[in-house]
Subunit: 333 residues, 2 copies
């Protein structure tokens, strides 16, 4: 048998049903993998009778209202903690969860620990662009306070992630900044740049409006700015389409007919800018593969997330990161 | 005679012509104001024969390639420096410039100085929302490195600006953060919150996706995060509409007819999210009114910027800020 990966069925806004749907769709098209689903006992009927899907019933779930550290330490029999224990014991290569982001990161950090040589694990995800070539971006929020010496590690982790996700070698790395000239930006960014300048794959600063054009492979920043970037992008794409809808409704019958004719274009646009298309965000740098999928994940999003989990597991992302860190971040072959 | 305000005709990407157009349009609808335009000698013909528009010819211009401090100190006869000198000597109440942002801020800071009691001036601008009620947001990038004790000043300046811009009293203030719970965010944000909690108008954290819904009056953050927020918003709104256009072109004849029928809706949406509708961004906290308009400002943008300049001048924003700082940030009347 090939690979085993795990899915946490609990903690998402839509409950376990759409996640099971996504897993089924994934299993139907992928042969060499088994999935273990961690749910509450009552979820068992959802997961029965599916080939290569195994169900584990747990006693409790961690909710969005739980305080991360308290929840991880207190709820030992939660779906999340049991699932991450399975990654620790190598029963599963990795896990994806739709739950409380703080709890997912805390459980991964506390139960699995850091990969030797990694100063701080970070949360990364792929982002769509106008050119159609996505970039990977992080830290999305795991480290709100950072030091400059975290950045080479962020960059090295991002490069391995990019290679496995897109199958492309030797990606370039950029540092997010509020100007392109060397003297621009805050002190932290200038210090990080000095350290990154030692690597041949580091290409300098990029600004937050330029990345969407495409052509940047890996973009790193601190977890505060990264989360501002992510949430601003979500808010603005929602607002722009919302205002457009409002104006269409206000525009009378011609406008509504026009909107019908554009239905496909809207759908394609939504798809290209939708997190559902891109799957989950891995917490890179811990000793095991742990991914977060969106809290509002439906079957499409769950399908993409399990597929991304599988791809990274198949490429042995944890082993690749260990190798790369040992070799000092420069590719050996 | 009423008010005099100044416009720097140079430093913008489109040259002086559209700025003159915008000024003319503004003067045609506003009686109690005179405008002084600072241009190169060769711009004189553009500005002749317009009632209440006075032209001053200068010898040089500061470009986007100039280093701010060097340019401000070295180009004493530039349109920007001459214009800000006119604000200093009270010949004009305030000035708006499309030029090099760094140079505009540096010139304002060096030539005018800070208002007593203001720790750091900041750059603010209004932002559109889904509800239609804009919020004012800053720092947009004047202070990349900040301390927590700058924040009460940022908030007080933002409140005066909001009141004059929208004619509404007692605006609420929010601090941008990557979570709403008290324990979320970076150290700086937590420290800033402790200081802001002393003011009755401070309402807590807001996240970067939530602000676009509306209902927040003044939102403050550090200049690095603020610039990331601004540039991400610009990049994403551009990318979303860009992808939609691409999908329309790809969609065949029905799709193109649909797009024609939606032309008005697109136009209205663009208008609502366009910086051109909202005019310039004032550098608040210096002893004079200095505004930056977009480098790509066309006649519409220039018109809005001069109108905003006039409104803030008419409300004596500098005097109001001085009063408010003296009273400790709490409104007297």
């Amino acid at each position: 048998m090939g690979l085993t990966v795990a899915v946490d069925l609990r903690g998402g806004d839509l409950g376990p049903q759409p996640l099971i749907e996504g897993i089924k769709r994934f299993l139907a098209e992928t042969e060499d993998v088994e999935v273990i689903a961690y749910g509450l006992q009552s979820d068992a009927p959802l997961a029965t009778g599916v080939h290569r899907l195994f169900f584990r019933g747990c006693e409790e779930e961690i909710t969005t209202h739980d305080k991360p550290t308290q929840a991880v330490k207190g709820k030992k029999n939660s779906t999340l903690v049991c699932g991450i224990e399975a990654v620790k014991s190598k029963e599963a290569y990795g896990i994806v969860s739709p739950g409380n982001t703080g709890a997912v990161l805390t459980a991964a950090y506390l139960l699995l620990g850091r990969i030797k040589g990694v100063k701080r694990p970070l949360l990364m995800a792929p982002m769509p662009t106008l050119s159609g070539e996505p970039f990977v971006f992080g830290d999305l929020g795991a480290n709100a306070d950072v030091r400059a010496d975290f950045f080479p590690g962020f960059a090295i982790l991002g490069r391995v992630y990019y290679e496995l996700l897109f199958g492309k070698e030797n990606p370039s790395v950029y540092l997010l900044n509020i100007g392109e000239e060397e003297e621009k930006g805050r002190q932290l960014v200038k210090e990080a740049r000095e350290l990154l300048d030692a690597y041949p794959w580091f290409k300098g600063y990029v600004e937050p409006h330029a990345v969407w054009e495409g052509g940047y492979d890996v973009v790193v920043t601190d977890g505060f700015s990264g989360n501002v970037f992510l949430k601003t992008a979500e808010g603005v794409s929602h607002a722009v389409t919302g205002v457009l809808k409002e104006e269409i409704m206000r525009g009378g019958i011609m406008s509504k007919i026009g909107a019908l004719m554009l239905k496909n274009a809207f759908k394609e646009m939504k798809k290209r800018f939708d997190y559902k298309t891109y799957g989950g965000a891995p917490f890179l740098g811990v000793r095991g593969l742990v991914m977060k999928m969106h809290g509002r994940s439906d079957a499409d999003a769950a399908y993409s997330a399990v597929k991304a989990l599988y791809r990274l597991a198949k490429g042995d992302i944890v082993g690749r990161i260990e190798e790369r860190i040992e070799s000092g971040g420069v590719r050996s072959g």
